[in-house]
Amino acid sequence: MSGSDDAVLELRAVHRTHGAGPAAVHALRGVSLVVRPGELVAVMGPSGSGKSTLLALAGGLDRPTGGEVRVEGQPLGALDRRGLAQLRRRRIGYIFQQLNLLGSLSALENVALPLELDGTSGRRARALAMAALTEVGLPALGDRFPDQLSGGQQQRVAIARALVGERRLVLADEPTGALDSQTGEAVLHLLRRRIDAGAAGVLVTHEARHAGWADRVVFLRDGVLVDTTAPLGSVEQLLSGSER
């Protein structure tokens, strides 16, 4: 990582085109974005605007057809398949609408799994997993299996799995799914707390109320960033309605 640049995630003029010739679909067209520690960026836009593509590229799940993606200063394009997999396991947490919890593993085992896959000793992985479960408020439910947990609790386990260990980049795609508004809010509260503790996050959502938790909201339209917001300066400005 270069000394002056503390970006956890950086997209530099990223393009992603699916297919070729006249049938080519340009999912992203020259998107640049920097996310720093302590910053949560929400990505909004209509269906098909490139939100999920952006998240997949940020997490190394897909590769750009142009431009560059860096995570903690490391250009993902310079990594081979193994290096990329390792970075994904160690540094990046994913929270999806589909929880993908393994039904045959306990909550604790689900959370410990990414660490164990990465070669962390079973004992240490469990200790870290317990710390993550405690962070999401479920320290007592580690030995339950997913089907013994409520929807909200399952989502918390999935979040603990995304946050376990030393992940500094959290990527969330509609993380509150079908949860009711209180439970969904609790999920965003957890995410926000982790970001405030120094992680960086990208939240893809079509719900404005959820994007409200972000420090910055960027709008995608047809694969291009069209606008960005930062919060207003003060309550007084907001309440007087004179934000400009």
């Binding site: 909004m44 209509p46 509260h189 926000r192 079509h206 719900e207 404005a208 109320r209 994007a211 409200g212 938790w213 972000a214 420090d215 909201v217 709008f219 047809d222 069209v226 606008d227 960005t228 917001t229 930062a230 919060p231 207003l232 309550v235 907001l238 309440l239 934000e243 400009r244």
Partner: protein, 200 residues
């Protein structure tokens, strides 16, 4: 809502004088609705005129407390029991603005939509930040006021998204631009706009 009913509700808790009412009003609305002391006294004198409150003897410190009357209690009960009618609220300037933007030549409606959405999102971020910082049990009334503003802002963003989607679908054959005059800047804009839409 009126300040009248706000003050009546506060006086239902017990007698209060002007400055106390102002402080209590702002506390229960989390300062979302700042009142000046002049508004409080004007409202009190109207309530007194209508027989809904009555002044009590001045204290030694020269403060005159007010108490709610039976007629005031009845009025307050009626207010709580009556839903707020949507037609009592001011007309939605934004909806009117967008409707006019659609039929006014040369206006880039999508930019109007986007500018509004950014502003509303910014407000939503700030409201969320305030909510995040108000976790004490005694913050509940204030949090509910914030939630109301959050849900309204969210509804506005959803409506703007809906407008944008409708524009994309319908714009090419949408409102007819005015009869083009070759050297008319508005007509040129409209033509360019139509062209952009056609390329989509």
């Amino acid at each position: 809502m009126s300040i009248r009913h706000g003050l009546l509700a506060l006086l239902e808790r017990g007698q209060m004088y002007g400055y106390q009412l102002r402080a209590a009003f702002e506390e229960s609305t989390g300062s979302t609705w700042p009142l000046n002391i002049g508004q409080v006294y004007t409202t009190l004198s109207r309530l007194e005129r209508d027989g809904l409150v009555r002044p009590l003897p001045e204290s030694e410190a020269g403060q005159r407390p007010y108490e709610i009357t039976d007629a005031g209690r009845a009025d307050l009960a009626l207010w709580f029991a009556t839903p707020i009618s949507r037609t009592d609220r001011p007309r939605d300037e934004l909806a009117i603005k967008l409707a006019l933007a659609l039929t006014t030549p040369g206006v880039d409606v999508r930019s109007v939509v986007q500018a509004q959405r950014s502003a509303t999102m910014r407000a939503l971020q700030e409201l969320t930040r305030l909510k995040y910082g108000s976790n004490r049990p005694e913050d509940l009334p204030w949090r509910l006021v914030l939630d109301s503003m959050v849900f309204q802002a969210e509804a506005e963003v959803r409506w703007l998204d809906h407008c944008e989607t409708s524009l994309v679908r319908h714009q090419p054959s949408g409102p007819a631009p005015p009869a083009p005059r070759p050297d008319d800047a508005d007509a040129r804009d409209a033509a360019r706009w139509a062209g952009e839409e056609a390329r989509r």
